[in-house]
């Protein structure tokens, strides 16, 4: 049933993507509530984080419990550059990406060769270490006090300051993330990444340098986490180490798994749903966590792969295109035309 539905989605994916994009662009003009727009921006930031984490865990198949560490590294990089050196956003944002990416490479080089769960544990520990560094390196991070009055970002003189402007900045960054990840996955590199996920021994025997691709994906995923960090820092104007703990890492991983490992559309659904639900439940105060928990448990019982974990839109589309031949030439999409 889900597969049939997703096939239909895929068949009209251009139209649907267009419609979603238009609606997304209209939201900040229809909604004026600062509160709602704030949730939207946070959700978009989470989308960037979840997409990049999904590339690592779902597409490459390498679990990481430390994604928030790179989020934090990006946030601190942007915060420090913009407060201490007055750097504009066209510097702070790329710098946050580069620094987070470099940390990804530095952590990956010695650890991505490790088999099995070692890497998973290393990522978890790394996240904790980063938190402790952020907490204690007073001169740079101001420790538990955090960095305050981080300036709003300005790109080449273009100031981003209202909620609506931030909304579109975040949207642009989400689109950038999607395009980069999608283009990578559609190339030989993407095929190699999926091959590594499915069978490392076979991948290496087909001439794929596993280690290199693991480092590459880790670096790219960390870059985008860093980008989300820069957005976070310069959007909220205040950061402290409590935002980049293992808790945040776990929350992101839950979003990835909720949407489905390896499915980018799922990552959108996971990030949006799980960013919005806690807000909707805010009125229920103490029951909030409980209900959130129940929703997750039920989903995992009904769909252990997450919502779209078993769905591959590309393959559904390819199979769908074959069908007309089997139907004796009856053209797909004919029904679609008649309806409209």
């Amino acid at each position: 049933m889900l597969e049939g539905f997703c096939t239909k989605l895929q068949r009209h994916h251009a139209a649907i993507t267009g419609a979603v994009l238009v609606i997304t662009c209209l939201i900040p003009f229809c909604v004026t509530s600062t509160y709602v727009l704030r949730i939207c921006v946070v959700a978009q930031m989470n989308i960037i984080l979840v997409l990049s984490l999904n590339m690592m865990t779902g597409l490459l198949g390498q679990m990481s419990f430390g994604h928030a560490a790179f989020f934090g590294i990006g946030a601190y990089t942007a915060a420090i550059l913009s407060t201490k050196l007055n750097m504009p956003a066209q510097v702070t944002f790329p710098a946050a990406m580069v620094v987070a990416g470099l940390f990804g490479i530095l952590l990956g080089l010695p650890t991505l060769k490790l088999k099995g769960y070692y890497f998973v544990i290393v990522t978890m520990v790394f996240c904790e270490i980063m938190r402790i560094v952020e907490l204690n390196w007073m001169e740079v991070t101001r420790g538990p006090l955090g960095i305050m009055t981080i300036p709003k970002p300005g790109f080449f003189g273009l100031r981003i300051s209202t909620q609506r402007e931030f909304y579109f900045l975040a949207l642009a960054l989400v689109i950038l993330t999607v395009i980069v990840i999608r283009n990578i996955m559609n190339s030989r590199i993407g095929y190699a990444i999926l091959a590594v996920r499915d069978d490392e021994v076979a991948a290496e025997s087909m001439g794929i340098n596993i280690f290199r691709y693991k480092i590459l994906v880790f670096a790219v995923a960390s870059c985008f986490a860093g980008l989300a960090g820069a957005l976070y820092a310069q959007y909220t104007g205040y950061i402290d180490p409590t935002s980049f703990t293992n808790n945040k890492s776990n929350e992101l991983l839950v979003m990835v798994i909720f949407g489905g490992l390896g499915n980018l559309v799922g990552s959108f659904i996971g990030a949006i749903t799980l960013s919005v639900i806690p807000e909707l439940l805010r009125g229920l105060a103490t029951y909030r966590q409980l209900i959130y928990g129940i929703i997750l448990v039920v989903l995992m019982m009904v769909k252990p792969d997450g919502l779209l974990g078993a769905v591959n839109f590309k393959y559904l589309g390819q199979r769908d295109k074959l069908k007309p031949l089997k139907d004796g030439g009856k053209k797909r999409g004919a029904i679609w035309w008649k309806k409209s």
């Binding site: 980069v180 283009n183 990578i184 559609n186 190339s187 030989r188 590199i189 993407g190 095929y191 190699a192 999926l194 091959a195 996920r197 499915d198 069978d199 021994v201 076979a202 991948a203 290496e204 025997s205 087909m206 001439g207 794929i208 340098n209 596993i210 590459l216 591959n312 393959y315 390819q318 199979r319 074959l322």
Partner: protein, 255 residues
């Protein structure tokens, strides 16, 4: 004739266990050569030494005159070996077509920037890959299943797909580890026909096989391994008559 493979005095030890001892072999360009031997003789270990999964304790492996001993598997594949596995190892969650495209990795060149910016060069390369992959899939009658998940194929087809994937790397030497294992009579026949086709297409093949009929029909020369040692070699007829071989292997197997 150009020498594609030269295995020189290979020894492979696992702790106290000597899996291969002083094995020598050669494969010339265009040949189909078989490796036979009873269970645990060291056949798969020999393949693993050749393809870099194990580093031989002693001895060297040469590929077309180049010493590749101790290289990493992916480097060795780049140099010109490609293999299949005794226990099928496909990319199970990728389609048949994508498995083959992934197999072309060593012949594609676009880098990270090409990929991110979706350059014409990258797009051209991907189209070429797809066309070539479809071409080989047609030869192996896998074209109609090209959009099916590799893991969902029937067993015999999975074995064939693994061969196709290895062919996609356009190797100088194709190593097949028991390609007919687990196949029924008819599938084996079909496979034999296909391996014959490989020869016509100019591939050089080294294959491990248990099925005696299979190797006798298809291989020009055979190497016989037993307990890690080479106990015989030659044409199928010569091997059949070799008393040591008959005792170690054929005798037990054919009665």
């Amino acid at each position: 004739m150009e020498k594609i493979l030269k295995v020189d005095h290979i020894t492979q030890k696992f702790g106290g266990l000597v899996a291969l001892e002083d094995v020598n072999m050669e494969v010339d360009s265009g040949e189909i050569v078989g490796v036979i031997g009873p269970n645990g003789a060291g056949k798969t270990t020999l393949f693993n030494c050749i393809t870099g999964i194990y580093k031989p304790t002693e001895g060297t492996v040469e590929l077309a005159g180049k010493d590749v001993t101790g290289w990493k598997p992916y480097q060795i594949t780049k140099q010109g070996f490609a293999r299949t596995f005794q226990n099928i190892r496909l990319f199970r969650k990728m389609t048949v077509l994508d498995n083959v495209i992934a197999g072309m990795h060593v012949h594609t060149k676009s880098n990270l920037l090409d990929s991110i910016f979706d350059t014409p060069r990258k797009r051209r390369e991907m189209t070429e890959c797809q066309e070539n992959a479809e071409k080989i899939l047609k030869i192996f009658d896998l074209y109609d299943q090209r959009y099916e998940m590799a893991g969902a194929l029937p067993y015999g087809k999975q074995r064939e797909l693994e061969i196709v994937r290895a062919m996609a790397a356009r190797p100088k030497l194709l190593l097949l580890d028991e390609p007919a294992a687990g196949m029924n009579e008819q599938e084996t026949q079909e496979l034999m026909h296909r391996v014959g086709q490989l020869k016509e297409m100019g591939y050089t093949v080294l294959l491990i096989e248990h099925d005696m009929k299979f190797v006798m029909n298809i291989c020009r020369r055979l190497y016989v391994l037993d307990n890690g040692r080479l106990i015989g070699k030659g044409t199928p007829q010569e091997v059949k008559k070799n008393p040591v071989v008959v005792e170690a292997y054929l005798g037990k197997d054919e009665t």
